[in-house]
């Protein structure tokens, strides 16, 4: 063998630490099995090669989804944004707005959080700063009604992209998940293929609960992509490995700060490199 230790218990323990510490815990057992299988087949011959193997293996598994947003064949593209409380939905919408405007597209915002204190004000400030129109309703009004009005406005104004913000909610709150489903249904009734994208915003600091979030949000509104926010912190966001493994939802964007510029299109390889550091 070319230097390096063999896959003994101590090495496996070290490997476990790397996997668990980056929040890949839900898939750690499977990943270690793959490594041991590759080792038996001589695809890996030393511990140095384990990390090279894993970088390729995990990057491949995170690839292959469509990282671009699906556009409507004609008319406005409708993007629904959802996620648990405080994950970064509203700020991610500001970032996506800038992202689309830089591509020369026109954007309309829907202030679909009619519940939380100053939620509408927060998105309105972003709309003003980014110079895009916004559709809002009264605080306490039905968010589905705001969604309806927003689609009407999007069609009337012939905007390219409609971004629909929603209130934070826990996937365990059945009535709120039903409310979210209703919002989605309103969008799909008004425009044939809408929503063209359903983005779940996940906080990179979240542990394995992220997998449960992805499952339940997906069951309710058919999530098409993840936005992994707050990756500028020290959290690695490894839960997306388990999410791709169990629910097959790709990461489309990552959030790396609090300003509209702080959005990047997801790239598996550098993300996985950081995961395995």
């Amino acid at each position: 063998f070319s230097g390096g230790r063999q896959l003994d218990d101590d090495f496996i323990e070290d490997l476990e630490e790397v996997l668990y510490s980056s929040d890949m815990g839900a898939t750690a057992v499977k990943i270690i099995e793959r490594v041991q299988k590759a080792y038996k087949k001589r695809e890996i011959e030393s511990t140095e090669q384990v990390f090279e193997f894993l970088k390729k293996d995990l990057a491949e598994r995170l690839s292959g989804g469509d990282t671009s947003l699906r556009r409507a064949a004609s008319g406005p593209t409708v993007v629904l944004v959802a996620g648990v409380n405080g994950s970064g939905k509203t700020t991610s919408i500001a970032k996506l707005t800038k992202h689309f405007k830089e591509q020369g597209l026109s954007v309309l915002l829907a202030a679909g959080d009619t519940f939380r204190a100053a939620a509408v004000e927060q998105l309105t400030i972003w709309a003003d700063r980014l110079d895009v129109p916004i559709v809002k309703g009264e605080t306490g009004s039905d968010p589905a009604a705001v969604a309806y009005d927003a689609v009407e406005a999007a069609l009337a104004r012939q905007v390219d992209i409609l971004l629909v913000d929603t209130a934070g909610r826990l996937h365990t709150q059945k009535n709120l998940m039903t409310e979210l489903e209703k919002i989605r249904n309103v969008l799909s009734k008004k425009i044939a293929d809408a929503p063209h994208e359903v983005l779940l915003v996940l906080d990179a600091t979240t542990g394995q609960n992220a997998v449960q979030q992805a499952k339940l949000f997906s069951e309710t509104i058919q999530v098409t992509g993840l936005v992994l926010s707050k990756l500028d912190g020290t959290a690695k966001g490894g839960a997306v490995i388990s999410i791709r493994d169990q629910v097959d939802i790709p990461v489309k964007f990552i959030g790396v700060g609090e300003q509209p510029d702080d959005l990047e299109v997801f790239e598996p390889a550098p993300f996985v490199d950081a995961l395995l550091e």
């Binding site: 405080g86 400030i125 600091t205 979240t206 394995q208 609960n209």
Partner: protein, 291 residues
Amino acid sequence: SISKSLDSVFSRFRKKGGVLTEENIQEGLREIRQALLEADVNFKVAKGFVKSIQEQAVGAEVLKSVSPGQQLIKIVHDELAVLMGEKAAPIQLNPGLTVIMMVGLQGSGKTTTCGKLAKLLSKQGRKPLLVAADIQRPAAIEQLRVLGKQLEMPVYTEEGGRPPDICQNGVRQASSQGCDVVILDTAGRLHIDDALMQELETVRKKVAVDEILLVCDAMTGQDAVNSAKEFNQRLEVSGVILTKLDGDTRGGAALSIRQVTGKPIKFVGVGEKLDKLEVFHPDRMADRILG
């Protein structure tokens, strides 16, 4: 559940009685470590915890009345509850003015918790003043204003000041408003953002803060130790509030945060409404983490 898996692990020892030995509890300890990791307890914290359980469990007489698995669970549960801290770690309330500062990562629930704490303290006969010291997040000041209005409590705000001065000015005019508790809402920040962490240190220098409460999201994973450690090292927090426990996260971050800061978890947030703040129960948290 952990009790089922430990029972099955120990099913072959049930008839033997005798003593818990290093050999016969190895598999049980692995199950316990797995349960902790599934609950998002930090890897190193889980490892250390299991080691301390092993030291306590080895040599313990297996009681005739319970299975070895149940006995191991009791050792684990009791140790977890002890680590979670003493039951009621109340807010340190002064006879005169008490100043409380909320700090934490972005989106953890600070602003909402300011409102909840104000409501709780007013029920205890206090007169809170909320201070809007987050000047960077769009509509953060407005968010606290709305909560203040809902609670019918004053909110101190300022145009164009820096947070340390806003906090100092807010505290200075608290008693003129007849208030005896000041709750400072600060902007969410990364523990690795040196400038913003220094800003909090500056608040502490300028204002006599009685309580610094670290507000943490209960669904935080392995990173909980990193941020909690840094906030504590730089500010010497006096307590922790764990939010969003109304979800289904096991909340292992609670153990990690306790282990790395040694500070008490004083309250838990269990909902978005302003009455959704409860006193922390260490034994209930232990049950939840073990699943």
